[in-house]
């Protein structure tokens, strides 16, 4: 489903963020990328989600190549990936329900479909009571759940989670990780990054790769 072939990323100023990264992710698999801050985890997520382009190598996703990725193919690539960003990127002026519904609007679902799928997802994450709240009214764990709901709601082919437990206390971390594990058991393909050993250990039933100074071990 996802294959990274000798992917590299050099930022302006010759700052090398990733070097010769190769990785295969099969359908239904969960891969944890574990590494310290500055290892290149977020860069990896940005390249896979087509937020940025590699300077070397190629990424293959669902029959599409990252080389000359533009137009309809770029939209298709992005629509098939649900991302939980490290900084969450929730829209502060929109309610929880509206935030969660963004990918459905992007995919031009009908009003009824948007309402139903959003409520279903919020109810799955036990967040339906907060559907009319605004992000600033939520706890850190609730915000994380909203970001997760938004990444899942359109049932993407691949879920990317960039440090989904950063800044969460232990009980909330456990809750989020249990949810991710549950999602994987339901057949979702997930790539997750973390700098916490306990998170990597918790998800060790899947594949774990170590990333250090832009190199994948």
């Amino acid at each position: 489903m996802l294959e990274l072939r000798n992917v590299g990323k050099v930022y302006p100023g010759d700052m090398m963020a990733l070097f010769n990264v190769s990785l295969v992710l099969n359908p239904g698999e969960l891969v944890t990328i574990y590494g310290p801050t500055g290892a290149g985890k977020t860069t990896l997520i940005r390249l896979i989600s087509a937020e940025d382009v590699p300077t070397d190598g190629e990424i293959l996703f669902d029959g599409l190549s990252s080389l000359r990725l533009k137009g309809k193919r770029l939209l298709q690539w992005r629509q098939n990936i649900g991302t939980v960003y490290q900084d969450l990127r929730l829209l502060k002026d929109k309610t929880v329900a509206t935030n969660v519904a963004v990918p459905l609007r992007v995919q031009a679902k009908t009003k009824k479909e948007i309402e139903n799928l959003t409520l279903e997802m919020l109810s799955f994450l036990r967040m339906e009571a907060r559907k009319d709240s605004y992000p600033d009214e939520l706890s850190a764990g609730e915000k994380q759940k909203v970001a997760l709901a938004r990444a899942l709601v359109s049932q993407p082919r691949l879920i990317l989670a960039d440090e989904p437990t950063a800044n969460l206390d232990t009980p909330t971390t456990q809750e989020i990780l249990s949810l991710i594990r549950g999602l994987n058991h339901l057949g979702n393909t997930i790539l997750l990054t973390t700098n916490r050993k306990e998170v990597a250990d918790f998800l060790s039933f899947g594949k774990t790769c170590q990333l250090n100074l832009g190199r994948l071990a």
Partner: protein, 284 residues
């Protein structure tokens, strides 16, 4: 692509950034007010010129010694002129009667001879009621035997025409600047709104949104700015119009056709202004 949803988004954005939006609308309204004021002035001047020309007549005074044959020749000549719609001959006796009727019989008592000349009064076809055509006709008539003087209110007509032409030139000059200014105001406001919404735009793009979905709310916003700017300027113009109408003289307001053309033009220019700023978003 949902037009209704994007309109709702646009209105919500406006409500959220009330000050930016209001400032833009007021700036557009006041810029347009200058243009609309000139339009109103031109429209009213045009009415005055039209009214003046409607009552337009040429007077041809004959020499006292004009012979019946000369008068008949002149009448025949006048009837062949394309500018002439109708003509009426006023004899010396008729002129005297009119004068006595107007000023009273005492005024001319004691004179041995009737001092008033015979004359022709010409009605001119509407399309020839312009200074150049009238001057040409007057010169041709003056050259005929038996004609003493030709009068057609040349100075008044020249002055009115020159005032009207100056007003049109000023309006075109100001109008050009103002219409360019509207494009720039809308472009700038939309750029500000895009900056305020850049995180939303970025998120939508990262989720694979087509350009239309991202751009449409801003297109609505451009049109709304233009619409409310025009509306406010018309309200202000109406206020000024009422004030002048009461204090000075009778004026006519801009007809709805002119208002619709102006609204259409402003909406089009607002759209252009919006699209200038949206090029980058559409490409992102």
């Amino acid at each position: 692509m949902s037009w209704g949803y994007s309109l709702k988004e646009a209105l919500a954005d406006f409500w959220q950034d009330k000050i930016t939006t209001m400032l833009a609308i007021v700036t557009i309204a006041f810029s347009l007010l200058v243009l609309n004021f000139f339009l109103l002035l031109i429209w009213n001047l045009n009415q005055i010129v039209k009214d003046f020309k409607k009552q337009f007549q040429i007077q041809i005074y004959l020499v006292a010694t004009a012979q019946p044959g000369e008068i008949a020749d002149l009448e025949a000549f006048l009837r062949t002129q394309p500018e002439v719609e109708n003509l009426k001959f006023v004899s010396q006796e008729e002129a005297l009667e009119e004068m006595e009727e107007f000023f009273g019989a005492d005024l001319l008592r004691g004179l041995d001879e009737n001092p008033l000349p015979g004359s022709f009064v010409l009605d001119i076809r509407e399309r020839f009621r312009i200074p150049r055509a009238l001057a040409g006709l007057a010169n041709r008539i003056k050259a005929r035997p038996g004609v003493e003087q030709v009068e057609y209110g040349k100075e008044s007509l020249d002055r009115l025409d020159s005032l009207f032409n100056t007003a049109v030139k000023v309006a075109l000059l100001f109008g050009g600047f103002i219409l360019v200014a509207i494009v720039l105001i809308v472009a700038n406001t939309i750029r500000l709104l895009i900056n305020l919404k850049r995180e939303t735009v970025r998120l939508y793009r990262l989720m694979g949104a087509r350009s239309g979905l991202v751009v449409l709310p801003f297109v609505w916003e451009s049109l709304i700015l233009g619409f409310f700017g025009t509306f406010l300027s018309l309200v202000l113009l109406w206020g000024i119009f009422r004030l002048f109408q009461i204090k000075l003289f009778s004026l006519v307001f801009l007809p709805y056709q002119v208002i619709f053309i102006m609204l259409g033009t402003v909406l089009l220019l607002s759209l252009v202004g919006g699209l200038i700023s949206l090029r980058r978003v559409a490409r992102a």
